[in-house]
């Protein structure tokens, strides 16, 4: 891939979803674009470039967005977060809810579904210890391919071994004859999947007691980060909490949030809501 071609694709991806591919990620992008070449049965990179220059169809665009996003993830990613969730975040949140109110959680950029399903399993486990009200987990992603996989709730033997303790695997999944594992319908049905570009409006999603937006902003440019964070703030309920990835923080992005640190778990709360 020459510089002109790299610039064309990286600028297009940045414009559409805000993810920045810098020069050092050129080979990564090229490897991912190879998948689109295969999809269209094109033999050279020049062919792909000319096809794109002639006009990017909606299918081509969706393929580009699918390959540009990083779908690597695992169950119960970041033990501190899920330990804190089970130990104090969810119990305290549930105790503070008015009777009859549904607990609402949003997993933004859910990829193949490991994060929202981990949250659902955490809530199922909590049910064994305390009253848990009705809950709804909204899981969004920009990639239709990722959402399709999340919707199938079916994972390879390697995927289910990443982060998921064995006792939860055999409790909440069934094993298929081909050694894939499928999440049981009662867990699957608690998660509503929806396509969503983080650059688009969030207002249709409603408000949430907890928002997980982890390991997403690191791929965004600063002005996009600021815009996304400030729009996420508007979707939080009063005293709602926002969770970022372990390598992410609000430093240099926004001073509208106060940081809540407990047992190594970091959360953000809007100053105007607290």
């Amino acid at each position: 891939m020459n510089k002109e071609q790299f610039d064309f694709f990286s600028k297009y991806i940045e414009k559409e979803i805000g993810i920045v591919y810098s020069e050092e990620n050129r080979f990564q992008l090229q490897a991912r674009l190879n998948d689109i070449m295969k999809f269209y049965s094109l033999s050279t990179f020049d062919d792909l470039y000319h096809k794109a220059k002639d006009g990017i169809s909606s299918t081509f665009k969706q393929l580009l967005l699918d390959i540009a996003t990083n779908n690597e993830t695992l169950f119960f990613r970041d033990q501190k977060v899920f330990q804190g969730l089970a130990k104090f975040v969810l119990p305290e949140l549930i105790s503070s809810l008015p009777p009859g109110e549904t607990l609402k959680i949003w997993s933004a950029a859910c990829s193949f579904g490991q994060e929202p399903y981990s949250i659902a399993i955490a809530l199922m486990e909590l049910k064994k210890k305390m009253f848990v009200p009705n809950f709804q987990i909204v899981a969004t992603d920009i990639s239709s391919i990722a959402l399709e996989r999340a919707n199938s709730a079916r994972y390879s033997q390697l995927e289910v071994q990443r982060g998921l303790p064995i006792h939860l695997l055999i409790q909440y999944f069934t094993k298929d004859p081909d050694d894939y594992w499928t999440l049981k319908p009662e867990v699957r049905s608690s998660v509503r999947l929806q396509i969503k570009n983080l650059k688009d409006s969030f207002t249709d999603l409603g408000n949430f007691h907890l928002i997980f937006c982890r390991n997403v902003l690191i791929y965004q440019k600063l002005d996009n980060k600021i815009d996304i964070i400030h729009r996420l703030e508007k979707q939080l309920t009063q005293k709602g909490r926002l969770l970022l990835g372990s390598a992410e923080s609000m430093i240099g992005i926004s001073d509208r949030f106060s940081q809540v640190i407990r047992e190594g778990m970091i959360m953000y709360q809007s100053k105007s809501n607290s």
Partner: protein, 125 residues
């Protein structure tokens, strides 16, 4: 170093596991069947913090070895590491008291994360 006893009759699995744990705080000690593992433990020369235990082995298989460990009141955590992956097999071993279960084939990240979750500490050096 964290001393771990690895019990498996396949030399290739020993080699792969050792390679996965290169550069970590884990020091692997091999046994090729359950009896060898029990003999090693009986010597008492090492302070093992974890046992990685295969299911199907000659002389003494994994479940029988685990039962013997319980009988002898040896309470070192055990991770089963086997290609047997039916829910029934897994449930039986969890009910018997094993701490975790790795289904073969596995990868380096899976091995390390399962070891870390049982030991409650990071093993990367």
């Amino acid at each position: 170093m964290i001393q771990v006893l690895m019990v498996d009759d396949a030399k290739s699995v020993h080699a792969f596991t050792k390679n996965c744990l290169l550069g970590t705080k884990v020091e692997l000690f091999p046994a090729y069947d359950g009896q060898q593992a029990l003999d090693e433990l009986a010597k008492g020369t090492r302070s093992f913090q974890l046992i990685l235990l295969d299911w199907e082995m000659p002389v003494l298989d994994g479940p029988k070895t685990f039962a013997e460990l319980k009988k002898q009141n040896i309470n070192i955590p055990v991770i089963m590491m086997t290609s047997r992956n039916s829910i029934e097999d897994i449930s039986n071993m969890l009910a018997a008291g094993v701490s975790e279960y790795i289904m073969k084939p596995f990868t380096k990240d899976i091995l390390i994360s399962k070891i870390e979750s049982i030991l409650g500490t990071e093993v990367s050096a």
